[in-house]
């Protein structure tokens, strides 16, 4: 055994117990215990959660299609020289054979002034398993055993802007790109009979019955983020061409198929007083 952390002083039989060395060792201990250095606190993070979400407006109001905050994934190629980022993210453009008319992105961003760790991203698409559903996807198992249809065209992105060309999205650092995953693996509650009604409910009672839909939970991501980095986290939904098979599930308004809840969980280090 030896002292490793607090002091460099070592004492052995057969050597002198020098007063100066003893005093040095004791002062090292005193200094340490009076103000433990940050790096010697093993548990020095606490979590923070960025919560967002809404219940979508359920219809069109005149010329207002009410898809906000979802916006189209492709920026126009004109005016030439004016549009900088025709592609708003990386790796999401799908071949036309998929019959996707357009993809829609919901994109949020923040910038921490200290290093943080992105621990998790949770996306909840809550749908109604009850008899008069407002938020649901056609093409799945019908009421009374509603299950959402199996889809594989939702995408989740977490990217960090380049510090050198921050407005060029082609240079973004791709931290997370989850795509082509089957929603069947991320269904909220697998048994529709269970999903229909909780054993014990909370107040107020929800309109749509129990809880169905998707719960995509990306955990233990362990993504370190530098101070002042510009972090973007985005969800992509598809809008299919009329009469395409995908439109059967997503309808002409894919942003209206679920009540959205999203949480980005961060780990933030403790700070100096």
């Amino acid at each position: 055994m030896s002292t490793r952390v607090i002091t460099n002083q070592q004492f052995s039989d057969g050597t002198t117990i020098d007063g100066n060395r003893l005093e040095d060792a004791l002062q090292d201990v005193e200094r340490f215990v009076d103000k433990v250095p940050a790096q010697m606190v093993r548990r020095r993070y606490t979590q923070s959660q960025i919560v967002s979400g809404w219940s979508p407006i359920t219809g069109v109001n005149g010329s207002f299609t009410n898809e906000h905050p979802w916006m189209k994934s492709l920026n126009p190629a004109f005016p030439p020289g004016v549009v900088k980022n025709q592609y708003r993210l990386k790796g999401y453009d799908r071949p036309k054979a998929d019959l996707i008319e357009e993809q829609y992105i919901w994109n949020q961003a923040f910038s921490p002034n200290r290093s943080v760790i992105i621990h998790a991203l949770d996306l909840f698409f809550a749908q109604d398993p009850g008899p008069s559903p407002v938020y649901f996807m056609p093409g799945g198992a019908p009421f009374p055993n509603y299950e959402p249809p199996k889809v594989s065209d939702i995408e989740i992105h977490i990217t960090v802007d380049s510090p050198y060309v921050p407005e060029d999205r082609s240079q973004n650092d791709m931290e997370i790109h989850k795509r082509d995953f089957s929603s069947e693996a991320w269904v909220f509650i697998g048994n529709p009979i269970v999903a229909y009604q909780p054993i014990s409910d909370m107040l107020p009672l929800a309109n749509g019955g129990g809880l169905s839909g998707f719960s995509v939970n990306l955990n233990e991501l362990n993504i370190p983020i530098s101070p002042y980095a510009r972090v973007r986290f985005a969800i992509i939904l598809p809008k299919y061409q009329v009469s395409a098979p995908g439109e059967l599930f997503w309808t002409s308004s894919p942003w209206r198929t679920a009540v959205i809840s999203q949480t980005l969980t961060l780990l933030e280090p403790n700070d100096h007083a």
């Binding site: 002292t3 103000k35 606490t46 906000h68 949020q108 961003a109 200290r114 269970v194 054993i199």
Partner: protein, 540 residues
């Protein structure tokens, strides 16, 4: 804690055990038994991040000025809460450190256009490069003394922060300020005042037919690390940890106190340890090895202690801002027909409730001490008809890819226009001119009491703090928890020890028909409502 205050060794003094072994024993006891508190840590402050997410800001509604608002409070944890609202110097305070602001402009130096009939027809969400010079915002933070603590005025009389985000930050091709963070603000916030965050979109949106999509503001503030909650008599639903000794269960300290073996009265002081004497080197090694892996405390993701604890203050202040009904409604009755577009609304007179719900995953455990709601009536007056009702609830739930689906209530309140004063803790609007219904910032803060009894807060009789966190099988056993405010302990085996998420629900209903609301009144003000879950989180 005070400094440990070792005695200095003076030249010529006879070396005694009190110079070495006793002093090292004091240090070892502080680490392994008493544990180290925040005053003895180089980084003794926890960071709290409050995030406000608005899906959309627009200018569709006549009479509502496009200013997004979120009023909030930062009440002290229950054991530190003072019902007279007087903060003493020793009470916890909060230092606002940084603000981050961003919105989505489709990654271009442009405004985002709202739908226009034209000609020319413009689709909602289109890019408007000509409008880039109009993209500008102002972010403000105001404070006031709360109605609950005797303030009869209704205005926010203290402006703590104003940050302008000019158009230069949004119309530049090379660098734009979205997102952008301002730091080192150093603004002190108090636990018994209320605050209002305002994102003033007036210059950008007023009369412009533009949109402000995905506006996200995050505030970070520092506060001292605190002692975590423990004891089954003081915390509801806290895990037992049955494998530990009784005095270590239910979150009580889990320590391994150590001592230095001191030589006898006439024994020589030696360097090396022996069975009866740790020796100088052995004593130093004991202290060194107690901190070698770093100080321990808090909980892991399964709500279990990591190891023998050496941190006394291992909890930080937590406040989670949950947006409700924020997707661009201004559901003041006649001014914009969005009432018909509210979810679940049927043909008039629709007398059933409408409910919004948010689901928040539990990754690391926290202890809920207070729940507060901001009901935002900006652009109108609060509902006054006796048939109109609000109901707000927070619950813990289980069911994500599991065999059973269940909830337990954590907080709940329900009121109408005749009973709202029971829960009201702050009443404010932007000017002293009473009865100005339109275009004004206006709102209420409500205390939503926790389940059970025995707690402290804005209202007498709310329940004790409630632990919420995932656990493994051994920690399914929890301390008693109630199922309603003021109610007794009720076991709910389908959820006890199994929570995976928090769910927040907000309901409004008019039994005379939701379209019954008078024209000057609003049920969802501009920018929507907020619910705040306030408590302690733990180091991890």
């Amino acid at each position: 804690m005070p400094k440990i205050g070792f005695k200095r060794l003076s030249r010529g003094v006879k070396l005694l055990t009190e110079h070495i072994h006793s002093q090292l024993n004091t240090a070892l006891d502080r680490v392994t038994n008493t544990r180290v508190d925040h005053t003895n840590l180089e980084s003794g402050d926890a960071l709290t991040r409050m995030s406000f997410s608005w899906p959309c800001a627009h200018d569709r509604v006549v009479g509502a000025q496009p200013r997004l608002t979120a009023a909030f409070v930062l009440p002290a944890p229950q054991e530190l809460f003072r019902t007279d609202g007087i903060k003493l110097p020793t009470d916890p305070g909060y230092i606002l450190d940084s603000v981050s602001f961003s919105l989505d402009t489709r990654d271009e130096p442009a405004a985002i256009s709202d739908a226009k009939v034209g000609p020319p027809v413009v689709l909602e969400g289109s890019l408007d490069f000509d409008g880039a010079s109009d993209v500008k915002f102002s972010l403000q933070l105001h404070g006031r003394k709360m109605t609950h603590f005797g303030n009869a005025e209704t205005s926010f009389d203290e402006t703590l922060l104003t940050i302008d985000y000019p158009n230069l930050g949004f119309n530049n091709n090379q660098v734009r300020t979205s997102p952008h963070v301002r730091e080192n603000l150093g603004i002190q916030l108090a636990p018994y005042s209320s605050y209002m965050l305002v994102v003033d979109c007036f210059d950008y949106l007023s009369g412009s037919s533009f949109l402000g999509n995905s506006i996200l503001v995050t505030l970070t503030f520092r506060s001292q690390l605190m002692v975590r909650d423990s004891d089954k008599k003081k915390v509801q639903n806290i895990p037992q940890s049955p494998e530990l000794f009784a005095l270590q269960q239910y979150g009580l300290p889990y320590t391994n106190p150590q001592t230095i073996l001191t030589p006898g009265a006439t024994a020589p002081i030696v360097a090396e340890p022996s069975p009866t004497d740790d020796g100088v080197q052995g004593a130093l090694e004991k202290v060194d090895s107690s901190v070698r892996r770093g100080l321990e405390g808090g909980y892991n993701e399964q709500s279990r202690r990591h190891a023998f604890e050496t941190m006394l203050t291992d909890a930080g202040y937590e406040i989670i801002a949950v947006p409700m009904w924020g997707n661009g409604w201004y559901a003041g009755n006649h001014l914009n027909n969005n009432v018909a577009l509210l979810p679940y609304v049927g043909p008039a007179p629709y007398s059933d409730p409408v409910v919004d719900r948010r689901i928040i995953p539990l990754h690391f455990p926290m202890v809920v001490h207070h729940v507060v709601a901001h009901l935002n009536f900006s652009g109108g007056l609060p509902p006054s008809t006796a048939t109109y009702k609000y109901e707000i609830g927070v619950g813990m739930g289980t069911g994500i890819r599991s065999d059973s689906y269940s909830y337990r209530q954590v907080a709940h309140a329900s009121w109408d226009s005749t009973t709202y004063l029971t829960y009201l803790i702050d009443d404010f609007h932007a000017s002293e001119t009473a009865g100005v219904p339109t275009g004004t910032i206006r709102g209420h803060l409500y205390d939503i009491p926790l389940i059970g009894v025995g707690g402290t807060g804005y209202r007498a009789g709310q329940g004790m703090p409630v632990f919420v966190g995932k656990t493994d099988n051994p920690d399914v056993v929890r301390s008693h928890a109630a199922s309603a405010p003021g109610g007794p302990h009720v076991p709910i085996p389908s959820i006890d020890g199994k929570e995976q998420f928090l769910e927040v629900r907000m309901l409004f209903q008019d039994t005379a028909g939701i379209q019954n609301l008078p024209a000057t009144e609003t049920m969802v003000g501009y920018g929507g409502h907020w619910v705040y879950i306030i408590g302690k989180k733990h180091v991890c």
